[in-house]
Symmetry: C2
Subunit: 279 residues, 2 copies
């Protein structure tokens, strides 16, 4: 098992939960108040989010688009560095869903693992093995491949029946049989399709899943766990982004990081209690 | 037809060709010589590439990964601005293959069309309609969806047989039937699979294709044109990146932009003469 998953598993044990904190710094939350005075407003906001949630975080996941849309890549770089320096036990994922031919993928791998220095990266499988292998060659890092996404129209392609499997099952099969030579591959499995988690769990064995879609997107935690946990009761990294970050938003008042802390505690506890209930 | 394709078609007519200049500023080409002294080395290099090739360019395509891997997003922004200001007739494409759920796609659309200010963007279809519609809502801009990519392992998913069509044909069908409400969608169709171009041309009618894979990747121009041209002899934007930019590379000597100019002239002429031969 690669270093990324060793770090993640250690964190599962120490928090007794499996919550991933999704860091989506939408400017509406913070640009109107104290941060515009900062030279690095996104960094300043993320630092407080990180510190408010670290106690409950098995991983941090940064949404690239929030930074890229506003030219805030430097803030992303500094925020990743801040998280890794101040909370070195917590792996950091960059959610940027990269996918390109091999020579270009090599540059995206450099972007994620060298420039930003994250531990894990989300990757799109549409181009096949040569677009994945470059990332998976970084054996200490996690490569998290889109399999079944949480959005309403994901079925259009992902549920197409290709022979005796649906497309997302083919992706799972390729991930387990070809792409995981370094034991550092996992899958994005949206919480909004719990039945898909069982099907993919059968294909990939104990491979970890990153599960978005709990909270704002409506996925049901208990159902996800029933369908997705491994036999030993592991294998799910449950991501919550908006429902934790938005908890601190108070309109025109100052952002409330205590409320963010409480929301992270709530979701971490919910994961823990749901797991106990099922075991 | 959206503004992007009006601009592109006007350029097809004025150049009598259909060459897209792929701007992939690999640092090996230039970082050792005069550009490190510049505060914006990627911008300085791209400006010279742009001016050396503009005469023959129907479009410029910037490869995001070259900039993202080195923290050079500001240079990308300035280089796009330079191209649009100095060569306003030539549409600019950002090749970053974005694809995410709708709320995130909205931020990627902002990144491409507002921050960088490009005319067109490449997009990955794996997440389906709600990941495409946000981009296609920018009706003046081109949305260029990955259909059949040029890389060796593209067949792994893209040629899976789903019912009576292969996956890439499903993508083509969705592009023509659901995603093109604003007449601003086109497809990436790799030159390395010319037979796929005929199949997709039958599905999508006159929809334009961006065709990578000529040159370094080995795609054959004549075969691409036989299979991919529309009945009126249009519909193909032929991208050449490495074979044009690398033409100027002289190892330890100064980069030779005249050679880049000549390579662009060569490919533009080749497209023109091949088209004549076939008509």
């Amino acid at each position: 098992m690669g270093k990324f998953y060793q770090k993640l598993n250690a964190r599962f044990r120490s928090t007794e939960s499996s919550l991933c904190i999704g860091l989506d710094p939408h400017p509406a939350y913070f640009l109107k108040e104290k941060y515009p005075k900062s030279e690095h407003p996104y960094l300043a906001f993320c630092r407080e989010l990180i510190d408010a949630t670290a106690e409950f975080a098995c991983a941090f996941k940064f949404q690239f688009a929030c930074f890229g849309s506003r030219g805030m890549e430097d803030d992303l770089e500094f925020a990743v560095h801040y998280a890794r320096s101040n909370h070195p036990d917590i792996p950091v994922i960059l959610d940027s869903k990269r996918g390109d031919i091999d020579s270009t993928a090599a540059q995206y791998a450099e972007e994620a693992f060298t420039r930003y220095g994250v531990d894990g990266l989300t990757v799109n499988p549409y181009l096949g093995s040569d677009s994945i292998d470059v990332f998976a060659g970084y054996s200490d890092c996690g490569v998290i491949i889109l399999c079944r996404t949480s959005n309403p129209s994901s079925a259009e392609l992902q549920e197409l029946k290709c022979g005796d499997m649906m497309l997302f099952e083919h992706v799972a099969h390729l991930a387990a049989s070809k792409w995981n030579k370094n034991n550092n591959v996992s899958l994005v499995m949206g919480a909004t399709h719990p039945e898909s988690l069982s099907r993919v769990r059968q294909i990939v064995g104990n491979m970890p899943f990153l599960v978005p879609g709990i909270g704002a997107q409506g996925g049901k935690l208990k159902s996800v766990m029933e369908h997705g946990l491994t036999e030993s009761g592991d294998g799910l990294l449950i991501n919550v982004s908006r429902s934790i970050v938005e908890a601190g938003w108070r309109g025109d008042l100052d952002f409330d990081f205590q409320a963010v802390h409480d929301a992270a505690r709530h979701y971490s506890g919910l994961i823990k209690s749901t797991k106990s209930e099922l075991s």
